[in-house]
Structures are given as structure tokens and as C-alpha cells.
């Protein structure tokens, strides 16, 4: 009787726990999804309805004029093109730099391994800061040059260590040894044996670097002056944020500006985030894999 009682009691407690857990996660899901949902319904609603606060749960007087307006904006498309160029170059170069270096660092008999490890660890925790970085870029003649956005982004030490951990844990040493006995040189081993076995880490790294470059604005802001070189995020910054800091102006003209500007804002949020967000569910297992590879060595 007491045993049965205990079991009964615990299942009641468990039921309450599961219910509360569902409610909690459901609420969090709503909190995540609503802002995204609102941006979408606001983008396809009549701007007047949005400004009047009528658009909260569903679109009002659906229109695609916002998308039409954004199609006409040359700066957005130039920014888009620039970002695509920068992202592709960053990914290609970063893989060329990160993957072989990660493999080399994973070799136990690498000469000076300890030195190189420390060499790469120090920048993770200490840096020169913004101004010396700017001065270095300046003396390398990279200011107002598209490479100023690309070159500093082609190696993240964090990613390098992740790559190294991947190689250490998932390329069997016996396989490498066997190839060596068969007479393969270290380069052959790397290109013909290691690379084909490393699709997972290649995908993870490509995605990490790509998303990082796609979303970054700060280097572009401090190094690029020529608007023709602006990446998408910098163009978006002008569209989305610049106007919020202005306090002055007469109410009427500002309202009129906002009527037009806000619609563009909703649409540009969608247009700029769509590639990443749409791709994301398909590649999320790679992102999660990356986090887990990184956590192996903590």
C-alpha cells in the first residue's frame, strides 16, 4: 500500500512537471516566433494599417509594394552583390588557411607543436584593440579596400582549434600510418585521405565563416568609405537604424517619411535574412556538430 501510494504520488507530480514543462517551452517558442511572424505580416500589410497599430496578429490589406520598392533600390542590390562576393572569397580563403593548419596542429610529432599552440592561444585572450588594429590595416594599405573586410576574417583561432579537435578525434591514426607505409607523402595523405574523410568539418567551417561574414558590419564600417564597396549589412544599417537617432524635424514630414521608410525596413529585414534563415534548417545539424566538436576539448 505505501509503495503503491508512492508510485501514484510520483506520477501525479510527474504529470504536473511535464505539463509545466510544456507550457514553459510553448511560451518560449511563442516569444521566439512572434517577432519574426510580426515582421513578415507587417512587410506585406498596408503601411498605414501598420502605423495605426492594426497589424498585430494577421496582415491587413495585403500588398507587395514594399518588395517592389526594395527591388528598385540599387544600393540594396549592390550591397547584396558585394556581400556575396565577400562571403564567397572569405569562405574559400578561410578553408585554405584553416583546414591544413588544423591538420598540422593535430599531428603529435609536429616540430614545435607546443610553441604553435601557445602562439594561437594568446590572441584568443589578449589583443591589441581597435586602434592598433586599424593602424596595421592602414599600413598594409587595406583601408577603403574590399580586402579589409575579407582578410582579417579568414582565420578564427576558435575555428582552427575546432578543426584540430575534429582531426584528432575522427581520423584514425592507423589509416594514416597505413597510407604512409604504402609510400604516400604527407601532402598526398592530406589531400587524398584526410580531406575526403572530413566533409563534416569542411561544411561546419564553411558555414561558420560564411554566416560570420554575411552578418558582419563593423570592419566594413570602419574601413570602407566608398559606398560602392558597402556590404549589405552596412546598407541595411543606413536603412534600418540611422533614422532612429534623429529627434528633430516637424512631426508631419517625419511621419510621412516613416510611413514610407518603415515598410522598406520590414521588407529589408526579410530580404537580407532570408538566405541564412531559409538555409538554416537544412544545415543546422552541421552547426550543432560544430558546437559539439568544440565542446570535446572545452
Amino acid at each position: 500500500m505505501p509503495v503503491k501510494n508512492k508510485l501514484l504520488k510520483s506520477t501525479m507530480g510527474d504529470k504536473v512537471f511535464y505539463a509545466l514543462n510544456y507550457i514553459f517551452l510553448g511560451l518560449m517558442t511563442l516569444i521566439i516566433l512572434y517577432p519574426i511572424y510580426f515582421i513578415i505580416i507587417a512587410a506585406i500589410s498596408d503601411p498605414d494599417a501598420v502605423l495605426a497599430g492594426e497589424v498585430v496578429l494577421y496582415p491587413v490589406r495585403v500588398t507587395l509594394s514594399g518588395f517592389q520598392k526594395i527591388l528598385e533600390r540599387a544600393d540594396v542590390w549592390r550591397g547584396y552583390l558585394n556581400t556575396i562576393i565577400y562571403t564567397v572569397l572569405t569562405v574559400v580563403l578561410s578553408l585554405i588557411v584553416t583546414i591544413p593548419a588544423g591538420w598540422a596542429l593535430s599531428r603529435k610529432t609536429l616540430l614545435g607543436k607546443k610553441f604553435f599552440m601557445i602562439y594561437f592561444i594568446i590572441p584568443m585572450f589578449f589583443g591589441g584593440g581597435l586602434i592598433p588594429f586599424y593602424n596595421v590595416m592602414n599600413s598594409l594599405h587595406l583601408v577603403n579596400n574590399m580586402w579589409s573586410v575579407i582578410l582579417p576574417s579568414i582565420l578564427s583561432v576558435w575555428n582552427l582549434f575546432m578543426t584540430r579537435t575534429f582531426f584528432e578525434s575522427s581520423i584514425p591514426e592507423g589509416l594514416v600510418e597505413a597510407a604512409r607505409i604504402d609510400g604516400a607523402g604527407e601532402w598526398r595523405i592530406f589531400t587524398n585521405l584526410v580531406i575526403p574523410l572530413s566533409k563534416a568539418i569542411l561544411a561546419v567551417m564553411a558555414l561558420y565563416y560564411a554566416v560570420g561574414q554575411w552578418n558582419s558590419y563593423f570592419n566594413a564600417m570602419i574601413f570602407l568609405q566608398d559606398e560602392n564597396l558597402y556590404p549589405l549589412q552596412l546598407v541595411l544599417k543606413e536603412i534600418l537604424i540611422a533614422s532612429e537617432s534623429t529627434t528633430g524635424g516637424s512631426g508631419e514630414t517625419i511621419l510621412e517619411q516613416y510611413r514610407l521608410a518603415n515598410q522598406i525596413k520590414y521588407v529589408s529585414v526579410i530580404v537580407s535574412s532570408a538566405p541564412v534563415i531559409c538555409l538554416y534548417p537544412f544545415v543546422q545539424k552541421y552547426f550543432a556538430q560544430g558546437v559539439m566538436i568544440g565542446s570535446l576539448k572545452g
Binding site: Y119, I131, S295
Partner: protein, 323 residues
């Protein structure tokens, strides 16, 4: 017996020495391709990480743009630039703003992913958990510019909140011009973006928990909630302490790119952080590079000190440490 030992040792020493000498040469030759593979990475880090560290020297100089860092005309001024910062009227507000923003962010941002991971892990349907996790992680990929843009669309003068207020007859207030709104907007939006992403690492750790532990706990009559507290939570504690050390180390280096985007004339009193001040002093207006570098150096030294303190403390109490 002893003689035999020393004899074999005597034989072994030169032989050993030989193989070490030859081994070193062989090791270099064998390492050659690897060193070449490493070279580009070494070069990139040298250019973009180590050269700036060298450039930090200008913090101790009366430096004008265009000056050589070390040359015949270098004017060393010791700690003058630092003293100037410590006596700057901005010093205490900057310290306060930076610390408060980071600590308030930490108080919510550190436990939330742990709670989310435990909660997702306790879900019965694994498929549902996967779907929810995918949804939770998605906002991580929204860029800072778009995130701040979204904030203006919700809390700006013509954002959703104000549209509703105006719709029911109230007055529009831009929360971007209100000092009191800056920290909540900053912290809540950061958490909105990243709690799912930060939870992944704990979810991974939880998936490695031995099911036997749960079975034993069930036999002992533990409820699901008790199992969360006494089985799941201890299992991720090592990960929790590593993450704790890392976030304490990064406490003062946090998120200035976003703060910069959110700054307006109205909220500058709370949104000006050490790092945004460095940017403004060093790269905008009439730049004062030496001064800005000194402030930046001060900031990164605090970070390193915090990291070391966190690491040693954790080592002492839990045997978990980064290094």
C-alpha cells in the same frame, strides 16, 4: 646486478642521445609539409593579431597618426594616457555602464540556456524536442544590424508598441531615446537571439548522461523533477563551470558592436561603454589614437585578469579549468 644496470645504462645513453639527435633532424624533415600547411595561418595571425599587440605601445606615447611606433622621434610618456583616462569625467560612468550591462546580461543570459537545455531534455517526445530546438536556434543567425533594426520596428517611435499606444490614443515615445529602456532592450534581445544557441552545448552534454542513472533514480522513487535536479544537473556541471569561466573572462569585452548600433543622443548616458568610447576617441572626430589605445588596453587587461581569477578559483573548488 647493480653493475649490469649501470652498464646497460651506459650503453643506452649514447644510443639514446643518437636517436634524439637523428630524430630531431628526421622530425624537422618529417614536419616540413606540416609546417608549410601551418604557414598561412601563422602569417594571418601574425598580421592581424600580433602586429596590433605590438602597436599597443602607442598607449605609452604621445603619438600622432603617421608617427613611427619606435623611431628617433618617439615621445614616451609612461602612464600619462592611463592617468588621463582615470581622471576623465567619463571614467566612472563608462565603468559603471560596461559592468552593469555585462553583469545584468550575465544574470539572465547564463542560467537561461541551462534551464532551456534541462527543459528540452526532459521532454518526452524527442521529435518535438528537435523541432523546438531548431526554432530556438534560428534567431542566432540574425545579424546585429537586423536585430537592432527589428528593435526599432518594435520599440522605435513608429514601432509596433508605439503604433498600438497611438492606436488607443496615447502618445508616441521612442524607447531608443529613453535611458531606462536601453539595458532591458539590449539584454532581452541578446537573450532572445542566443539562448537557444548557447543551450546546444548543454543539450549535447545531457545526451551523454548514462540512462542507467535515471533508471536507478526511478527505482529509488525519484520524480522527473528530482531527476532533473539530482541526475541531469550534476552531469552538466563540468560544462557549466567551463562556460562560467569563459563568460567571466569575456565580461568586459561584450557586445559593443551592438551597443554602438543602439546608441542615440537620448540614451548615451547609459549606452556609452568603454569599447564604444574607444571607437569614438580613436576613429571619429579628431582622433586621439594614443588615448584610445590606452583605454582599450586597460579594458583588455581587466579581461585577462578576470579570466585568470575565474580560472584559478574554479581550479581550486571544482578541478574544472580552461588551462
Amino acid at each position: 646486478m647493480a653493475r649490469q644496470n649501470s652498464a646497460s645504462a651506459a650503453v643506452a645513453v649514447p644510443k639514446n642521445g643518437n636517436t634524439v639527435g637523428g630524430g630531431k633532424w628526421r622530425r624537422l624533415r618529417k614536419s616540413c609539409p606540416w609546417l608549410l600547411m601551418l604557414l598561412p595561418a601563422v602569417l594571418v595571425v601574425f598580421l592581424f593579431n600580433y602586429l596590433p599587440i605590438y602597436g599597443v605601445l602607442i598607449a605609452f606615447q604621445d603619438f600622432m597618426p603617421g608617427d613611427q611606433i619606435i623611431g628617433p622621434y618617439t615621445r614616451w610618456v609612461g602612464f600619462d594616457n592611463f592617468i588621463r583616462f582615470f581622471t576623465d569625467v567619463q571614467f566612472w560612468p563608462l565603468m559603471k555602464n560596461t559592468f552593469l550591462l555585462c553583469i545584468l546580461g550575465f544574470i539572465i543570459g547564463f542560467p537561461l540556456p541551462i534551464i532551456i537545455a534541462l527543459s528540452l531534455n526532459a521532454l518526452k517526445g524527442k521529435r518535438t524536442a528537435k523541432v523546438i530546438q531548431t526554432i530556438f536556434t534560428a534567431p542566432h543567425f540574425i545579424s546585429l544590424v537586423v536585430m537592432v533594426g527589428m528593435l526599432t520596428l518594435f520599440f522605435g517611435r513608429y514601432g509596433l508598441v508605439n503604433n498600438i499606444i497611438a492606436g488607443i490614443g496615447g502618445d508616441r515615445v521612442s524607447y531608443f531615446l529613453e535611458e531606462g529602456a536601453f539595458r532591458p532592450m539590449y539584454i532581452l534581445s541578446s537573450n532572445w537571439q542566443d539562448f537557444g544557441w548557447s543551450a546546444i552545448i548543454y543539450i549535447a552534454a545531457l545526451s551523454n548522461v548514462d540512462p542507467g542513472l535515471h533508471e536507478a533514480a526511478i527505482l529509488d522513487g525519484a520524480s522527473r523533477f528530482q531527476r532533473v535536479i539530482h541526475v541531469d544537473l550534476p552531469a552538466i556541471m563540468p560544462m557549466v563551470s567551463v562556460m562560467l569561466i569563459m563568460s567571466i573572462g569575456g565580461l568586459m569585452g561584450v557586445g559593443y558592436e551592438k551597443a554602438l548600433l543602439m546608441q542615440t543622443d537620448g540614451n548615451l548616458g547609459v549606452s556609452e561603454l568603454i569599447a564604444t568610447y574607444v571607437y569614438k576617441q580613436g576613429l571619429t572626430g579628431v582622433p586621439d589614437q594614443a588615448y584610445a589605445t590606452a583605454i582599450g588596453l586597460f579594458n583588455s587587461v581587466i579581461n585577462v585578469v578576470l579570466l585568470i581569477i575565474a580560472n584559478t578559483t574554479s581550479k581550486k573548488f571544482s578541478e574544472n579549468s580552461l588551462f
